[in-house]
């Protein structure tokens, strides 16, 4: 269970900066092939998770083109490690993260940024002092969605990194494992209750921060 939380946390935290950057590019810029990039980002949302997991395995496995390069050059291995579980969760949650952040960027009144510029703020300062704070509700919503998705991620994880106890076994895969063995019902139920408590706690915490930030941003 602790592993599950660790996987979900890392998945969310690691994808956050990338998610903000991608959302910003998609919301604010126009370039040829933008529709394609947009589609690619959203692909994990519509593909069967097993397909995503299999693609990850093909690409990032020890024998895969990217996985071999990472393992040989950087010593980073995803396949059948908890980092791989986090990576799979991150990929699966990414579309939700980007969508929420992008919507919040598109909702920002760009005239406020013009006003900040007339007050002497250079573009980077405008982003940090105006754009980013106004994006916060979207970032938070996206983070919660991605975190929840990570906690519940099953198909891509089990396909990419299997179900190794202590290494890649997350809550859903453990519950699944218990349901497959005789007398596993009690253990499965215990984990189910844990999952409910965990999810509820995450939701309440999110709700609380959202309300605080919402109050701040709305003034």
């Amino acid at each position: 269970m602790r592993l599950s939380v660790r996987v979900a946390l890392w998945a969310t935290l690691a994808s956050l900066p990338v998610g903000i950057a991608v959302a910003f590019v998609l919301a604010r810029t126009r370039f040829p092939g933008k529709t394609l990039v947009d589609g690619l980002v959203h692909l994990p949302l519509v593909l069967p998770p097993v397909v995503t997991g299999y693609l990850l395995l093909v690409l990032f496995g020890r024998q895969g083109p990217i996985g071999a390069f990472l393992a040989d050059e950087l010593g980073v291995v995803f396949a059948f490690r908890w980092t791989g579980a986090a990576f799979a969760s991150a990929v699966m949650g990414f579309p939700l993260l980007v969508r929420a952040i992008r919507l919040s960027i598109e909702a920002i009144d760009r005239r406020l940024e013009a006003a900040a510029a007339t007050l002497g703020a250079r573009p980077a300062a405008v982003f940090l002092t105006v754009t980013l704070p106004l994006m916060l509700p979207g970032i938070l919503a996206g983070t919660i969605l991605a975190f929840a998705r990570s906690l519940g991620e099953f198909g891509a994880t089990i396909t990419f990194v299997s179900n190794i106890p202590g290494e890649t076994q997350t809550l859903p895969t453990a519950i699944y494992a218990f349901t497959q063995v005789p007398d596993g019902d009690a253990a499965a139920m215990r984990l189910t209750i844990v999952a409910i408590i965990l999810s509820l706690a995450a939701l309440l915490a999110a709700e609380w921060t959202a309300r605080r930030i919402g109050r701040r941003v709305a003034g």
């Binding site: 009144d109 005239r111 406020l112 013009a114 006003a115 900040a116 510029a117 007339t118 007050l119 002497g120 703020a121 250079r122 573009p123 300062a125 405008v126 002092t129 105006v130 704070p133 106004l134 701040r216 941003v217 709305a218 003034g219």
Partner: protein, 377 residues
């Protein structure tokens, strides 16, 4: 402290061509909506890059399309008060005020927070959020925020347009104080005659992307040929006068213009204070003999300067009153039945009642007596 601008810019089917040099005080950009006023100030602020031309502020070139020069807005130090305030919703009033100051080098800071807060009456608002402010309060904060960035020039784009009449009257005195107590030149966009007459030192009349007239307020607003642009209903002469005395028995004040006096409802101002008056053409009667048994308190000897030709019902005639022009709006029938002709001596009659908060204001303080001694940068 000047803004010199000579630009051409095309936006779809709209073409803006303008050449202006502004001096101290408030320069009003006046014209109907769509005449190019906002585009012009956006070019000065750097929010729009003009197709062709030059912009020089205080001798420093900010735009020169021939030399491919374009200074981005954040390096121009030009303050901007927007029509809708544009306060940062996630920051308190205090942090909104301090926003621009953070980006101003300490050596360039000319305003202190305490001064600006006092000037604009913001003391009780500092810890509030913009969402909880009234429209008038928001605009006062927006003015303070722009001032605290110590701008070289302040642009104000219809800052009162989103406010009701009562809120406007609440803000106008602050803008007047800005004009009289700070040496910062202001470019003020408006399509409201009372506002322009009350605030402006110089008026630039814009029409369909071009400049139709430039000059001192009293001269431009009095020109009958500009009436289609300066709004017929409000059109009339603008006169600069001085408060000569009070008549407490009847709660009236007496204003002196060279060679004549006017009686108006009592004003709250010191004797000798400059007063700017607007006398709408529709409020002036013409009599061929000194009227007898008439309630109007102001009867001024005048001479008819010009009677424009026309075949509509209305004629705006120009009168010479002690060397200055006053306009009277008469029906063509009245002109004919009185037999009025240019050069004729007549009497202009103005009721005291027409002088109210919308037509009488404090004139701009004389620069020579400005005691603020602000550092000229």
């Amino acid at each position: 402290m000047t803004v010199a601008l000579d630009i051409a810019h095309t936006l779809g089917a709209f073409r803006l061509e303008a050449r202006i040099e502004t001096g101290p005080g408030i320069t009003a950009l006046f014209g109907r909506s769509g005449s190019g006023k906002t585009t012009l100030v956006n070019i000065v602020a750097g929010l729009i890059r003009p197709d062709h031309g030059r912009l020089v502020v205080d001798g420093r070139p900010l735009v020169d399309t021939a030399a491919r020069l374009f200074v981005p807005p954040h390096r121009r130090r030009i303050g901007y008060v927007f029509q809708e305030g544009r306060l940062f919703p996630h920051l308190s009033v205090r942090r909104n005020l301090l926003f621009g100051r953070a980006f101003t080098p300490a050596s360039d800071r000319r305003e202190t927070v305490a001064d600006v807060v006092a000037l604009l009456g913001l003391e009780t608002l500092l810890e509030r959020r913009p969402a909880s402010l009234s429209g008038g309060e928001k605009q006062r904060v927006a003015i303070g925020r722009a001032l605290l960035a110590s701008p070289r020039v302040l642009l104000m784009d219809e800052p009162l347009a989103a406010l009701d009449v009562a809120r406007r009257d609440e803000i106008l005195p602050y803008v007047e104080r800005l004009r009289d107590e700070r040496r910062i030149p202001i470019i003020y966009v408006s399509h409201q005659v009372p506002e322009v007459v009350r605030l402006a030192t110089t008026v630039v009349v814009m029409d369909a992307g071009r400049i139709a007239a430039v000059g001192p307020v009293s001269e431009v607003m009095t020109r009958t040929d500009l009436y289609p642009l300066t709004r017929r209903y409000e059109a009339g002469a603008v006169l600069e006068a001085r408060l000569a005395g009070h008549d407490p028995a009847y709660a009236m004040s007496i204003l002196a213009l060279d060679g004549c006096t006017l009686r108006v409802p009592q004003l709250e101002a010191a004797i000798g204070a400059p007063i700017r008056l607007r006398i709408r053409a529709r409020d002036v009667l013409v009599a061929t003999r000194p009227p007898d048994g008439l309630s109007a308190q102001n009867v001024l000897p005048a001479r008819i300067q010009a009677i424009p030709e026309g075949d509509g019902p209305i004629v705006d005639i120009a009168l010479d009153v002690a060397g200055r022009t006053l306009n009277a709006r008469l029906t063509r029938r009245a002109v004919a039945s009185l037999g009025l002709t240019p050069g004729q001596s007549v009497f202009a009659v103005v009721k005291s009642i027409v002088f109210d908060g919308h037509t009488v204001s404090r004139g701009p303080a004389a620069r020579a007596t400005d005691p603020s001694g602000a550092v000229d940068t």
